[in-house]
């Protein structure tokens, strides 16, 4: 099972087919878990959250909770019959409820189960809790100052002679950049509904990107085997990584209640509780020391990536690993050492979020590029070009994988031309000399993003394809749909394989009962893995059908060929439905399980060496901004993007991922600010205080193109490339453009060094800093 060959129906693959659920989305009939018909007697659970950052729990008095109207009971750690842990890292640091002490403000303490959600929610606030406060550290610097306790093993990537490189470098830049976190703000919050079955069985409808892990967690916590647990998800109202592990707790609590009371149970936190109790993108402080020469060529990089991991490991290990994997972005470092510090903090345990640490790594690399450019008085784009990985040499990454598919030069050259970058930059430099209180900036930044799970075993997928006697097709695979269009892409693959219309393919909800032992739908891998697995299943059925047709019509198999709508057997055309019906009558199996595993990849974390990525996806963006030097307010005026998705499986879906990913990245870097107060409470826990981009924030001129010439050099499904995460990082161009506008105040002689998110306040303070330096 290797190379995906062309299918039959060129009418389906590589076409801009609308999202399969689009008519249901727009009609309000697409069903999310909270919309499902609840079984009679469904109970509702609600979480009680801690109001301390770090404290011993001395006592909890549930009397008022139990006495509240509609309350059926309270769930605590005592109700856990199995293993009291929902740690996705399997390191037993995440009990279902706080055990003996709370480690962050908002940590779940217990759950109330009541007849209605409103009753459960009101009762959850009635417990009397006695705490004894403990010292706490909230952020990277505080955690480092407190001794730098880590939640999981750090990683070091090293290549070349770093000390010697730094010592010999004609120029050095040392600095630190603070990179803010981000809330997922999926529009559909966390939710699960569990329905008890006979014996130990339980079915959990969970808004999860990782049904298998939810299944495993439920089985662990209930102390039952995995075959008793079925987890199903038809669609999520957004995930972005926030439902890779963070849904587990809700699935587990719903299942615990369902089995305890033998009634269905649903749990859905309010938005504020969702944002307080579930993990986010890691914020980082990156300390760096970079040596370079007078031309701006980097000679050596030494960097430490401190990350706010929160109170438990969760995915902080692989997230901080991926930050290191992307600290090179598209640049060749002759010598490099990068170290991660996944720091224990008394905050919610941070988790996966689109890019998975990669964006923070890329942002750090662009920071030292920017520093070098301003120090040398050059356009940062020139410094970027001077440091790009070579096509055939100077192309080994800090993790010792050779970059074999480098197209960054072509992407950047084309975008530079199509966006008219050079002329616009000249105009902006001229505008900034007019003395206006408005200043402008422009920046072009590239991205190179590694595709594959660095947990090598995750790079596998299964699918189940049934063909019915009337030629209709039933498609299941292990990937989940969160809006990214995975379902339609895989359905296109299947329709293409059989040469039938897309309406012949029924896309089934993802369930652990159909395809077992699946990987998270994450790391942009959904289409690569599940598309290939589904195609494998189709090819198995097709081979049987072809053999059957040859036998039935007494033809050579060589004379049978798939054509659109059926099979050509010699001069006879057999419609697909007729072929399937006759296959059934002749006892040919019309169902197959497909499987795929990514070839070529390997990774040895202990030595920091390997080939963790199957291939790279590339892109580049040019952003132009205007700032108000009196208030720090700004506008993003124009963005041009050229992005590489290989040969697109669905250009409409892919364009949506690029546009949406960019704007989400822009939000991360501009208006989305997580603020904790001095007691450790997150103060930005709802859309009234946490500001994701609006329609009126997107650039008025927004030119987004896919690099239509790109074809994945690896034999992926349709020669496409993954698209979920890479475009997110294109938004770093906005930060750099804002930096240029700020730097104009001091004649571009001082690097702007804006921390993110670059709020109006940070812009204004940057302007003030520049004024001081301009003297």
């Amino acid at each position: 099972m290797n190379e995906h060959a062309a299918g039959i129906s060129l009418a389906t693959l590589h076409k801009a087919t609308p999202h399969d659920s689009a008519p249901k989305h727009v009609s309000g009939t697409a069903e999310y878990i909270d919309d499902m018909v609840e079984p009679a007697g469904t109970m509702h659970a609600y979480l009680a959250l801690s109001s301390r950052a770090h404290a011993d729990i001395l006592s909890i008095d549930f009397a008022a909770v139990r006495a509240a109207p509609g309350v059926i009971g309270v769930l605590t750690n005592e109700d856990v019959p199995g293993v009291n842990d929902v740690s996705s890292a399997h390191v037993h640091d995440e009990p279902v409820f706080a055990l003996g002490k709370v480690q962050f403000w908002g940590q779940p303490l217990f759950a109330v189960v009541a007849e209605t959600r409103d009753q459960a929610r009101r009762a959850a606030h009635l417990a009397r809790i006695e705490y004894r406060d403990l010292p706490f550290a909230l952020d990277v610097r505080a955690a480092q100052a407190a001794g730098g306790k880590l939640v999981t093993k750090p990683l070091k990537l090293e290549r070349g002679e770093v000390e010697a490189g730094l010592a010999a470098a004609p120029r050095r830049v040392q600095g630190a950049v603070t990179i803010g976190g981000q809330d997922h703000f999926y529009l559909e919050g966390q939710i699960a509904m569990a329905v008890p079955g006979e014996d130990e069985d339980v079915t959990v409808y969970s808004s999860t990107q990782h049904p298998t892990e939810a299944q495993v967690m439920v089985a662990h916590v209930l102390g039952i085997r995995q075959h008793a647990v079925t987890v199903e998800v038809r669609r999520m109202g957004g995930g972005f990584g926030g439902k890779e592990t963070q849904g587990n707790l809700f699935a587990v609590i719903a299942a615990l209640a369902a089995k305890k009371w033998n009634r269905a149970c649903k749990i859905r936190p309010d938005r504020d509780d969702d944002m307080s109790a579930t993990g986010k993108r890691h914020d980082f402080v990156v300390d760096y020391d970079v040596g370079y020469d007078d031309d701006g060529k980097i000679l050596a990089v030494d960097a430490v990536f401190g990350a706010r991991a929160g109170y438990s490991a969760d995915l902080s290990g692989p997230v901080t690993d991926r930050a290191l994997f992307h600290c090179d972005n598209a640049y060749w470092y002759p010598a490099v050492r990068a170290r991660s510090e996944p720091l224990y903090t008394n905050t919610v345990s941070n988790t996966a979020f689109r890019g998975f640490g990669g964006p923070q790594g890329v942002l750090a690399s662009e920071r030292w590029i920017e520093d070098i450019a301003y120090a040398l008085g050059k356009d940062p784009l020139d410094i970027r070009k001077a440091n790009f990985y070579g096509r055939d040499s100077d192309n080994v990454t800090p993790y010792h994988q050779t970059v074999e598919d480098n197209i960054v030069h072509r992407v950047v050259e084309e975008l530079e031309a199509s966006s008219d970058y050079q002329a616009r930059r000249r105009d902006i430099l001229a505008f900034n000399r007019t003395g206006s209180i408005l200043r402008k900036g422009i920046a072009l930044t590239p991205v190179k993003f590694g595709i594959s799970f660095t947990a090598t075993w995750y790079n596998q997928a299964g699918a189940l394809v049934h063909v019915y006697k009337d030629g209709s097709i039933h498609l299941s695979h292990g990937g989940t749909e969160m809006g990214q269009g995975l379902y339609i892409k895989v359905a296109q693959v299947v329709a293409d394989a059989f040469g039938v219309g897309i309406d012949s393919v029924k896309i089934m909800a993802t369930t652990t009962g159909k395809v077992p032992n699946t990987s998270a739908t994450a790391a942009s891998s959904g289409s690569d893995l599940n598309g290939m697995a589904a195609w494998d299943a189709c090819e198995q059925i097709k081979a049987r059908l072809l053999a059957h047709a040859a036998k039935l019509h007494e033809a050579d198999e060589a004379d049978c060929r798939w054509v659109e709508g059926g099979m050509q057997v010699g001069r006879r055309f057999v419609p697909f439905a007729e072929l399937c019906a006759s296959a059934y009558m002749n006892r040919v199996q019309l169902s197959a399980a497909g499987f795929y595993k990514t070839p070529k990849i390997h990774w040895d974390r202990a030595t920091g060496r390997g080939h963790p990525f199957y291939y790279f996806a590339y892109g580049a963006a040019v952003s132009e901004v205007t700032i108000d030097t009196l208030t720090g307010e700004y506008s993003v005026d124009r963005v041009d993007i050229l992005h590489d998705v290989g040969r697109s499986l669905n250009p409409a879906i892919d364009l949506g991922q690029v546009e949406g990913g960019f704007i989400q990245g822009m939000g991360w870097l501009t208006s989305e600010e997580l603020v904790w107060d001095d007691k450790g409470q997150l103060r930005t826990h709802a859309p009234s205080t946490y500001k994701i981009p609006l329609a009126s924030d997107i650039p008025p001129v927004f030119n987004v193109r896919l690099a239509e010439w790109s074809v994945n050099r690896e034999p992926t499904i349709g020669r496409s490339k993954a698209v979920g995460e890479p475009p997110f990082m294109l938004a770093i161009s906005v930060v750099e453009a804002l930096g240029m506008a700020v730097a104009s105040i001091a004649g571009y002689r001082v690097a702007p060094q804006l921390d993110t998110p670059v709020t109006p306040e940070r812009v204004l303070m940057g302007v003030e800093r520049m004024k001081g330096m301009a003297g």
Partner: protein, 488 residues
């Protein structure tokens, strides 16, 4: 008091609904989803900020029925008496096909995860019915109260621009049935007060402004709810019991706007959206601010009276109104009094309002010729955000070039909306020059000792407030370009 009716009646899509037992804090969204099992409208935030629950509410305006987009999550059932509630389930095209708005959204790939989509469809639907060929600006404005986390909005805007190529409002069922709907709604309102429930569960829907005044004077413990854009969150976020409640958002007398040669008087129930044309005509300096207050749905619900009455230090209307010298008209029963708006705000959470007394109207004197006036709002996100600070500046510069009068007021800088009297005093009598402006800046620290919070630091607030005076000065001399959003 005349006879009282005991049922809330309204139209839900095509059906007439009569409710005789409903809690004062029952929200429309929960009622739709839990009681009626209409689950197309989604809960994304339960605070009126994300728009996933957007529905249209039609109400009588004279002879016409007017549909506004609103957020069902913070809209109480008691406020729906005599209205037509239209949900996503009511949208239909011809012969069972998708509605033009829906088809455009499908064809332009305007949905990804789809959870926010019904709300976007409803907002675009409301826009298209009153503006079938909207500019991009109009679309962006109509969508200020809708959050999408997947698409980056570009395809939704494209869909919004294309709707009319799929159909015209004249072909829409809501348009075709508007006369019949109007008549059905008219039949609901028989001029009687509506009362339901007892004690904390009591709902009162007064028959008239006088009826309200009389009721409230006798029942000062009742909670007044107009647009519910603030009180709604007390319920959905803090689970406060708000009953007994008197709903006033429907009263036509409170929706009056009286204009003469020297002033404009807004009655308290005028929504931001309803006020906009009059604001634009008389105070064009407030146009930008007005479009940046909340999102469209909240502007359709929130009232001018509510923004003042609740005494918030970060309401957006008090600073410019104070700078303009607004007078507030308070009423208790038949007793009325008038105070300066700035005197209404006594301290954080404390206003000059007696038990049983309510804000009936606010009068804004027109700006005398030759005076200069501007208001600036600064927030982390430009639109649909709460001010970090909001500053209003008004000066008169006499023929000698010196400042004859200055009124400056800020929100977000103190525990109440507050004038910058030290800065004003420092300005008066001095020449209106950059030197003067720079010289008076330290006085800001006398007037304000702002706090730092999740919206901005104290340092930023003070610096930005000072710089806004500079910006105001520069604009009065024809400099000080503003950021502009230029969309094709």
């Amino acid at each position: 008091m005349a006879e009282v009716a005991n049922a809330i009646k309204f139209l839900l899509n095509g059906e007439e609904v009569t409710l005789t037992d409903v809690a004062p804090d029952q929200t429309l969204l929960d009622w739709l989803r839990l009681e009626r099992r209409l689950r197309g409208s989604k809960e994304g935030c339960a605070e009126g900020d994300c728009g996933a629950c957007t529905v249209l509410v039609g109400r009588l305006m004279g002879d016409e029925i007017v549909y506004d987009s609103v957020t069902a999550c913070i809209r109480f059932m008691g406020s729906l008496h005599g209205t037509h509630v239209v949900t996503i389930e009511h949208l239909r095209g011809e012969n069972g096909h998708l509605h033009p708005v829906q088809q455009a959204m499908v064809d332009f790939h305007g949905s990804q995860c789809g959870f926010c989509t019904p709300g976007f469809v409803m907002s675009l639907y409301g826009l298209w019915m009153r503006d079938p060929h909207p500019s991009r600006n109009a679309i962006e404005k109509a969508l200020q109260g809708n959050l999408c986390r997947c698409t980056g909005y570009a395809p939704i805007i494209r869909a919004g621009q294309a709707i009319s190529s799929y159909g015209q409002p004249e072909g829409d069922p809501l348009w075709a049935e508007r006369i019949a709907v109007r008549d059905r709604i008219r039949a609901i309102d028989d001029g009687r007060r509506v009362e339901l429930g007892e004690g904390d569960n009591r709902i009162v829907i007064p028959a008239s402004l006088d009826d309200f005044a009389a009721f409230y004077a006798e029942n000062p413990e009742a909670r007044i709810v107009a647009g519910s854009t603030d009180v709604g969150l007390w319920v959905t976020k803090f689970m406060r019991r708000i009953g007994p409640v008197v709903f006033i958002g429907h009263l036509p007398e409170l929706k009056r706007i009286a204009e003469n040669d020297s002033e404009v008087r807004f009655y308290a129930g005028v929504s931001y959206s309803e006020a906009l044309p009059v604001i634009a005509a008389n105070f064009p300096q407030l146009n930008e601010l007005w479009s940046r207050i909340a999102g469209e749905q909240v502007r359709n619900m929130g009232t001018i009276g509510g923004n003042i009455a609740n005494g918030s230090p970060i309401g957006d209307t008090p600073p410019p109104f104070i700078a303009l010298g607004a007078r507030l008209h308070l009423r208790r029963g038949e007793h009325r009094r008038e105070i300066k708006l700035e005197d209404y705000f006594l301290a954080y959470g404390k206003q000059d309002r007696q038990p049983g007394e309510f804000v009936e109207s606010v009068t804004l004197p027109l700006l005398p010729a030759g005076e200069k006036f501007a208001t600036y709002k600064i927030s982390k996100r430009r639109d649909e955000d709460i001010s970090a600070l909001c500053g209003a500046f008004r000066v008169f510069v006499n023929d000698a070039g010196t400042v004859g009068m200055a009124r400056i007021a800020f929100g977000g800088m103190a525990a109440t909306p507050k004038r910058a009297k030290a800065v004003e005093a420092a300005l008066v009598g001095r020449p209106w020059t950059l030197e003067t402006v720079e010289a008076v800046l330290p006085a800001f620290a006398t007037d304000y000792q702002p706090i730092g919070d999740m919206r901005a630091s104290a340092e930023y607030r003070l610096l930005a407030a000072q710089n806004l005076l500079k910006r105001f000065y520069l604009e009065t001399i024809g400099q000080g370009e503003r950021l502009k959003r230029e969309v094709a």
